[in-house]
Symmetry: D3
Subunit: 277 residues, 6 copies
C-alpha cells in the first residue's frame, strides 16, 4: 500500500501533509522504529476512514501522503539536515504537517522547520520518558535528549509534558523550573489547553506514553501508562488548540507480533489528523 | 484433548450442547479463526471448572461437546447450509446451544436454526464492529454483514448492539432507526435486559468487543474496547435473561503468541455457559 | 513498496507482465498465502536486480508490475472468473505473464487464459504434492485438484511433474498413465526439456517443492524436498524452453518468522523472470 | 549482564541481598520460569534506578546480587534443600532477602529459612491462584500447594491473600476458615496492613496476580487481574510494614515475545526493593 | 485430534501400539518436549497415510493409539516407574511398541519393559549427543545419561550409535571400548544391520540427530546433522531388522514456530512405523 | 553469563583474546546485530568445550573474554575510532584476536589495528555479499563497503573472497581485477591456502555466507549458501594458516526464533578459535 488510507489528495491541494521518517539511528536499546511508517501505511487499510470519536471522516478533507523520506544510517547530524530540508517548504507553505517516526529524535528537525515559521510555538509532549538529558554518553543528538534540544530553542514556559514516568532523578528536578511536567497521567491537560490559548502548537506523541498492555510494539516499554481511552480523552481536550504540526513516534513493529500496536498507531494517526482539521 | 473441560455428558442427557464451527472462509483481512475451536478445547484444561464470578461449577450440570462440524472452504453458501443442518435438530430438541467460531458469519446459520424454534427471538450482540453492511464487495454472505442478514429475518426492535466502535458512517446512521446501538461500552445493558424481559435471546459475542490489550488474538483488533471485567459485568447483568443460544467468535490463535487470548476465550465459554444454566 | 524491484516499465512497453493473486480461499490446512504477493514486493528491495546465476540484470528488460488483483473470499467460482478475465487480455496481447500466488488454485484461471492463446501448451509443474485429486471433500475447485483441472483441458502427454513426494496412493497410480511424474527430485528435467522442444510452456512452481529447511513459510511443509541450488539447476536446465507464462505460488508469510522464505521467493521471481527473457 | 541494575555492593556490606532461583521442575502446564532471573537481570539495564513512585533511588542503598542458585531438575525435594541451605545464612545474618523465581514452589524453602529467624512471621500473598491444594496428583511439593505448605508451619491467622481468582471450589471453602482471602482485588490491603502492625512479613508476589494484558509472560495467565497501577497502589499501602523477605515469581520469558512482562518484572523488583528499605 | 492419523484399531486387534510420554522433567537447558506428543497427533492430519518412500499405507495395518501416559513433574524416579508399568503389558503381549517423547530419558523405562521380554535386545541409537554421562550434576536419571543407563543392563556389544556430534571428550573416549559409535553420519548402518542379524532391536531416534535446518524444534540444536533424506536412507537400510520397539523423542514444539519440525516428526512416525511392519 | 564458555584466563596470561562489538549503526535493512555478542555468550553454555571436528578442547588453552566494547549510535566515525583504540593494544601485545559482531563494518577498525602490527596481512573473507561498494548512498563507512575500505589499505592480491552470491554487477566486475573471488562456494580454498603460505591472515566470516536454512538469524538472508558442513570443511582447509585475527559477524538474534542461528554461531566461535591455536 503506498498511501495512508484516505490520504489521496495532491500536495498542491492538501491542507495537511503526512510523511514518514524511517530513522532509528540513535536508539540505544532495541532498534526497529525505522519500520514504523511502512507498517502504519500497510495496516491503515484495516481501519475505517470514519471516526466515531470525533464523528469526522478523513474522506471529507484534502490530505496528502508524501511517502517516506529516504535516509541513511551512521551520521545523525546529516540525517537531521535532510529531514529539516524536507519539512521546511511544507511548513513555509502554511500546510499542516503530520509525521510518523522513527525514533523520537526525528521530532527535532521537523520542529526546527516549523519553529522558523511560528516563533511563538508551544510544545505539547506526551511520553513515558522525560527526554531531557543534556546528552547520552556524549551524544547531544539522541532520542533521550530531544526535548532538551527543543528547549534550547524555545526556552522556559513553552513545553508541556504529560504521562512521564521514567527518567533520571536529575531530569525530574530540572523539569521543575523549566517545563510543565505531569507525572503518570494527562489529567491537567484541559487547564493547560486554556493557558496555551491561541499559540501555535507542535504536538508530539511518543506512543510509549500508552501503557504497554495496549502498545507493546516499542523499544522501551514502560508499564503504568495511559489507556487508549485516556489518550483519546487527552486528544479531545485539545480540540480547540491551533495545532500546526504533530507527530506520532516510536512504533517498533518487530515487537508487535499480534499487530495490535500497529492498529493503535493507525487509529491515532486518524484521530490526531482529524483533531488538527 | 477432545472435549471442553467439564463437558462430559452424552447428547441425550445434555441440557446444553457445545460445538465448534472452524470456518473463516469470508474473512477479508487476516484469516485463522478456523483454528479457534481446537485451541479453546486444548487450553480449557488450563482452567478450573469452578467460576468464582458466578459461584457455579460446570461439573454440576449436564453438558455435551459434539466436537467440530466438518467443513470445506471455497463455497460459503454450501457451508451455511451444512451448519444450519447441524444445528437444527439440537434447537428442535429444545437443548441450549453454545457454538465457538470461526468468523462471525457462522452465527447466521445457527441463528436461522434457533429462530425457527423461537420466532420471537431477540439478539444481544457484543462486538467492536457494526457488521451491518448490506454486502462486502458484492458478497452478501460476509462476516461484515452478519447482523444485517439477521435483521433481514427479525427486523427492527429485536437487535441490541454493545461496544461498537468501528464501521462506515452509513452503518452508524442506519443503526439509528433499525437497531439499538451503544457505542464503545455496554453500560446500558441492565436497562435493555429489563426491556427484553422473557423473550428468548440469542447472545452473540464477537470477542473483539474486548480491548486488544487483553484479546490480541483476532483478525481485526480495535483498541478502546471493554476490559475483561467490564465484559464479566455485562454477563452478570444478563443473568435473568432466557438465553436459548449463544456463541463466542473470532478467536484467531495465530495472533495469540502468549496464549492469553485463548485463555480469555476459555474462561468466557465457562462463564457464558454458566450464565445460561 | 508498490512495485517489484526492477519492474518499472508501463504495460504498453512491457515484454513481461507481473501481477499478484492474493487468494487462499480453498486452502484446507493453514491459510495465509493471500499475504504472499505483498510480502514479495516489499522484501524485493532487499535483493539486487543482478543475477550471478544467469549473469543477467532485470534492469536490462522491459518489465511491468500491475499490482494485485482485487478479490473477495467465499465464492471460489466467481474468483476464478475474475482472475481469468484479468489475465486474458495480457495473454492475448502476446506478453509473457508472471503471477505470484496465493494458493495453487490460482494457476487454473491464468492457465485457461494462456491456453486459449496457445492450444499446444505444455505444463511443467514443480511441487511437493500431486494436486491430482478429482475433488476435495466434494469441491472440484480446490488447491488439491488444480493439476487435475488443467488435465481436463490438456489431456495426457502434456503435464510434467517434478519433486512430488506427497499424495494419495490413487493419485500416484493415476499419474502413471496420464502425466509424467518424477518422485522427490527433478533430475530428469534436462531430458524432458528436449522432449518438449518448442511447444509453448506454462511453468508453475509450488514453492513447497523446496525443502522446508529453506522454505518453511507455506501451509503444508513437506520435508525431503529440493534444495535451493537444486531448484536453480532445474531453472538453468529450462533455459532453452519457450516459457510463455509462469507462476510461483504458496508462500504464506505468517509461517516465515525470519523472512527467509520471502527472500527465497523474491530471488526465484528474479531468476524465473530472467529465465523467460 | 551479571548484576541487577544498581545492585553493586558486596555481600558483607549489603542491607538487602537478591538472588535468582531458576527452577520450574513441578510446573504442570507451561514450563519456562527457569529463565526468569536471567531475563530480569539482562533487561534491568533498560530501566532507571530512580523510582518516581517512591521518589527513591536504588543507588542510595547497599544492595547485593548473589546471582542464581545452581539447581538440577528431576528431584524436587533435593532442590528444596539446596535453596533452603542457600537462604539460611542470609536470613540468619539479619539481611533482607529478595528472590526472583522460578515457579512459586521456590517460595517455600526461602520461607522456611526466614521463618526460623522470625517465628512470628506473617505472609502477604498476591496471586491469581489460591495455591492451597493439599497435593497435586499426589505430589505435596507443588506450585499449586505452596501456600498450603507454608500454612503447615504458620497455621491460621498468619496468611493474607489478595487478587485470587482461580482455584478449586474446595480451596475457596477451606480458605474461609484458615486464611484471609480477598477475591479479584487488593482493596482491603490498607486495613490488613494495620492489623499486621509490626509483625515481620514475608511478601510473596506471584506475578500472575497482574492482569495478563500487562503480564502475559507466565505459565497460566488468568484474565481479570490487577492493573500495574493497582499493584503499585498495593505496594504503597504496605510502606510501613516490616518486610524482612520478599519474592517475585512465575515470570516465563518465552511467553513474553514483546519483552513487556520482563520490563514489568524489572520495575517491580525495583519498587518492591525500595519498599523494603 | 485424539488419534494419530491411520491409528484406528482397538488395542486387542493391534499389531503395533503407539503412545505419548509427555515428560521433560530432567531437561537441563530448554524444556518443552512435554508438548511433543500432542503436537504430533494434531498435525498428523496434515500428512497422508501413504508413504512414497516405502510404498506402504498405514491404512493397511492394525494400529492402535493409546493416547498419552498421565504424568506429574518433580520426582523422576516415580515417573520412570509409571512409564515402565504402562509399557510392560504391551511388551508382554508381544505387540510392537512405538512411543513419542518427551525427553530422551523416557526411553529408559520403555526399554526396561521391552528388555524383560527380549533379553537379547540390541539398541540402535540415532542422536546428536552421546548421552553416555554417568550422571548429570549428581542425577543418574538424566536425559544426558540415558544410553549409559541402558548400557548398565545390556553391556558391551549391544549399542550402536550414529550421527553423534556432541559430548564430553571422556564420553567419546569411553564409547571406544563399550559401544559402536559413528561420528556425524550414519553411513555404516548397512554393515551394522548385517551384524545385528535377527537379534530383536530397540530403535531410539533422538530427533536432534537431524540437522537443525530441518529440525529446529528441539531443546539443544546441534548443526552438522543428518538431512531428512539421509535419515530416510538410514531407515531404509534397516528394513530387514526385527525391530520390536522404537521411539522418536525430543520434539519441543515451542521452538518450532513454522510447524516444520512437527511435520518432520509426523512423517518420521509414519515411516518408522511402516518400517516395523 | 558473563564469559564465553571455556574463556576463563586473565588478559595477561591469554594467548587469544575475545571481545564483542555490539554495533549495527549503518545497517540499512534489518538492524539487530548489536544483540549478537550477548546472545552468543549466553547460549555458549549450551555447547561443550570439546570439538569432535578438531579433536581439541577449549579448556586446554589460555583464553580470555574481555566482554563487549561500550558504544553509542549516531556517529559511525567516532565508533570506528573507539573500536580501533580498544583493539590496538591487544594486537600490539602479539595476542591473537577474536571479535564477535555486530555488523560487518566492525571488521574495519579491528583490521586497522592488526594491519599496523602485520603490514603483510592477507584477508580471507567468507560472505554472501561482495561488500565492495565505494559507498552506500554517500556513506563510505558502511557494512556494504567494508571490504573496499580494507582494500584501500592492502590493495590488490591480498583479499580472498568465498561464497559470494549477491552484489551489484559493477562489484563483480571490479573484483575481477582487484580481489580473488569465488562465487557461491569455497571449493578453491585449499589452493588459496597454499598460495597464502605463511603470510599473516585476518579471517573474517560474515555468517550469512551460510545458507539461511541453517542461519536465518541475519539481516539480509541469501539462499544458495554454504551448508554448515561445507563451512567446517573450509575451516579445516585453513588449519595450517597463520591466522592472527578473526571475526564472526552479522548474527541478528531477533530473526532467530528457534535459537538455531545462535547455536551455530557458538559452535563456529569454538571451531574458529581452535583453528587459530
Amino acid at each position: 500500500m503506498d498511501k495512508f488510507i484516505g490520504f489521496e489528495s495532491t500536495y498542491e491541494e492538501a491542507q495537511l501533509v503526512l510523511f514518514g521518517i524511517p530513522y532509528d539511528g540513535t536508539t540505544s536499546f532495541r532498534p526497529g522504529t525505522r519500520f514504523g511508517p511502512a507498517a502504519v501505511r500497510q495496516d491503515s487499510f484495516g481501519i475505517e476512514t470514519y471516526s466515531p470519536y470525533f464523528d469526522q471522516d478523513l474522506e471529507d478533507y484534502k490530505l496528502c501522503d508524501l511517502g517516506d523520506i529516504e535516509l541513511t544510517f551512521g551520521n545523525a547530524a546529516r540525517v537531521m539536515d535532510t529531514i529539516e530540508a524536507f519539512a521546511r517548504p511544507v511548513a513555509e507553505a502554511g500546510k499542516k504537517i503530520f509525521s510518523i517516526g522513527g525514533e523520537h529524535l526525528v521530532t527535532y528537525p521537523v520542529f526546527k522547520a516549523v519553529f522558523e515559521k511560528y516563533p511563538d510555538l508551544a510544545i505539547v509532549h506526551l511520553d513515558a520518558h522525560t527526554d531531557l538529558r543534556e546528552d547520552y554518553m556524549g551524544e547531544k543528538l539522541s532520542h533521550a535528549s530531544v526535548i532538551k534540544r527543543i528547549w534550547d530553542h524555545v526556552g522556559d514556559a513553552s513545553i508541556y509534558q504529560f504521562g512521564i514516568r521514567s527518567g533520571l532523578k536529575e531530569e525530574f528536578e530540572w523539569a521543575k523550573s523549566h517545563t510543565y511536567l505531569e507525572k503518570f497521567t494527562a489529567n491537567t491537560l484541559p487547564e493547560i489547553v486554556k493557558q496555551i490559548g491561541q499559540r501555535p502548537v507542535y504536538l508530539t506523541v511518543d506512543l510509549d506514553v500508552l501503557d504497554p498492555s495496549i502498545f507493546s510494539g516499542t523499544g522501551t516499554p514502560e508499564p503504568g501508562g495511559l489507556t487508549f481511552n485516556a489518550l483519546i480523552e487527552a486528544l479531545k481536550a485539545m480540540k480547540g488548540l491551533n495545532i500546526v504540526a504533530a507527530d506520532a513516534v516510536e512504533l517498533a513493529p518487530h515487537y508487535d507480533h499480534s499487530g495490535v500496536s500497529t492498529a493503535v498507531a493507525c487509529k491515532l494517526v486518524r484521530e490526531m489528523t482529524l483533531l488538527m482539521l
